[in-house]
Symmetry: C2
Subunit: 342 residues, 2 copies
């Protein structure tokens, strides 16, 4: 692989900065256009509560990872039209809408370090403003005039909703296995990552092989991202307790470390998991006991290995695209996602 | 206007049957195809709860008025392709999704005479299955391959969500005037009626004048329909009490009869409305007192006149289309909608 001086410089930048910060810097003009479009389209002359709620969410920031992925994919495929900005705003709107609805579903009190919209206003507002953002995202993608883009995002939306319902029914059920977990993760996280990168390639009219590679990258990156999130909830790769350790345990969510431990459980251990997850009867010391079982069966290490495997798949996929500074940053991003638990 | 024998026969049918029943009979083959498509697309292999919830809703029936309007509009414009069926299923999915989300917002216990999904399952399920139906509707419309149809339905979706949020903030606020009421009604009801008829014309490649007439018909019919609903909540055109009289009053919703009465209120009456609607302090006899004020200012009669005016606008609009049996039934439908309070 040959690299010119500019690539090497960018790689140094990527080492010093977090890869998504380096991407945001490299795509600064486009990201500013995305922010402008988001501010413009989240407005509503008729219903002033809408911009209040959306401003609350948008000002809270967040990494804007999904729109960055769309812009990066389009630029990586040599796109020079205006519509990657629309698509980047589209995926951020879809993401924000799902956050609003998730907060109702999870009865969350905090999101991005601020009170959630359903706490500041009410559940009704979260549901309806979420619907508004979905329809705004839909308008934005129609403006691109690409039926293929619409098809991809319609399918992603259905996968997201299906995954959320599946998660609802799979929760608190010890029969949830790794295949179901993967389906849930694809729905709740990977579907939008994959659509975000795929539409970038499609709008750039990239060859089918590149579009497929971008989709595979987004899918694997999203899965890796979510597995790491679930792993961090149990303190990361070692069974140590952080300040947020055990939220999923207390909410009786079956995530990968527990699913693996249940699969290896003896009768006593199974009775424990059944009590704390299925029956929801939790006592002092149960989280510590659970962490002990994860350690005994090595499921945190196994979960970490899975996350690393998906990050490798993401890197292998994106390597099928031309060797540019953006590609290097996307490879760096896959490494960065799992670096949180390495 | 010349009418052939077949038209006259259909008009007789329309007189004997309710107009939407006559339409359903006339469009029986297409409606069966719509039902089949709805059953097919509401399924989900991955999340079995989805078909449980949607079956609960779809089996409950309802008049299927919106898909009938789409089929009727397309046939009226001479369409002979397959996609009016997709669009009819699309509007029914959007309608069902908004019902699911409305039930969360209104905390309703009954819908179409059966327990609501949020009572049988929970709010989470209503939110997420609603999202699923929205994305399914989106997939269906993408299949038609018409960007113009997508544009119309994206705009309708945004208007619906905006109207719902506006209703939320306008509720319990005596400053709500007739202009705001009309905006809310356009959002919650007329936007989908108008889109349902407009896309029928668009998919049939009808001349612009006919597409506009269909849109105007759906808009006016929807407004008339909603005003009549709000009027019936106060017992219809006379201030008499039926078994459901006063639901909107108890929920402190500002609908047209009350908005008109508030505009004509003296200081004492204003204080009454402020207490029962804004402060939500309601006592025995308040509903009877409210009905007395509506009667005193003649606002039920004025509201009825508005509903009749919108029905006339609907009939004038559809009369711009060719004189056929379907047109006669659509005219009959506009009369039927207001006949509930005449």
């Amino acid at each position: 692989m040959s690299r010119d001086l500019k690539d090497i410089t960018m790689e140094n930048v990527a080492i010093e900065r977090k890869p998504h910060d380096a991407l945001a810097l490299l795509l600064g003009t486009e990201m500013a256009a995305v922010d402008g479009l988001i501010r413009d389209r989240m407005a509503s002359d008729n219903a002033p509560r809408i911009p209040q709620v959306t401003a609350h969410l948008v000002e809270a920031g967040g990494k804007r990872l999904r729109p960055l992925l769309t812009l990066a994919a389009a630029k990586l495929c040599g796109y020079d039209g205006p519509y990657h900005v629309h698509l980047a705003a589209t995926v951020e709107f879809i993401h924000t809408a799902t956050l609003l609805h998730d907060d109702v579903v999870d009865e969350s009190a905090q999101r991005r370090g601020r009170p959630t919209a359903n706490l500041m206003w009410d559940n009704k507002t979260s549901v309806l403003v979420g619907d508004y953002l979905f329809s705004r995202s839909f308008q934005l993608m129609v403006e691109t005039g690409s039926l293929r883009v619409l098809d991809i995002l319609a399918n992603a939306s259905a996968t997201i909703a299906e995954g959320e319902v599946l998660q609802l029914t799979a929760a608190q059920d010890l029969a949830t296995n790794e295949a179901i977990y993967l389906q849930v993760v694809r729905g709740k996280t990977a579907a939008l990552f994959a659509a975000a990168t795929e539409v970038g390639g499609v709008i750039a009219n990239a060859p089918e092989s590149e579009v497929a590679a971008l989709r595979d990258y987004g899918d694997a990156l999203g899965i890796s991202f979510q597995i790491v999130d679930d792993l961090l909830d149990y303190g990361g790769s070692s069974a140590s307790m952080g300040k947020n350790t055990g939220d999923d345990f207390r909410e009786r969510k079956l995530t990968l470390p527990v699913i693996k431990a249940v699969a290896l459980a003896d009768a006593n251990e199974r009775a424990f998991w059944s009590r704390v997850i299925e029956d929801g009867v939790q006592k002092d010391g149960d989280l510590e006991h659970a962490l002990g079982l994860l350690a005994k069966h090595g499921t945190l290490a196994a979960t970490k290995a899975d996350a690393l495997g998906w990050a490798e798949k993401a890197k292998a996929a994106i390597t099928r695209l031309p060797d540019t500074e953006i590609r290097a940053l996307l490879i760096g991003l896959a490494d960065y996602v799992v670096a949180r638990v390495v």
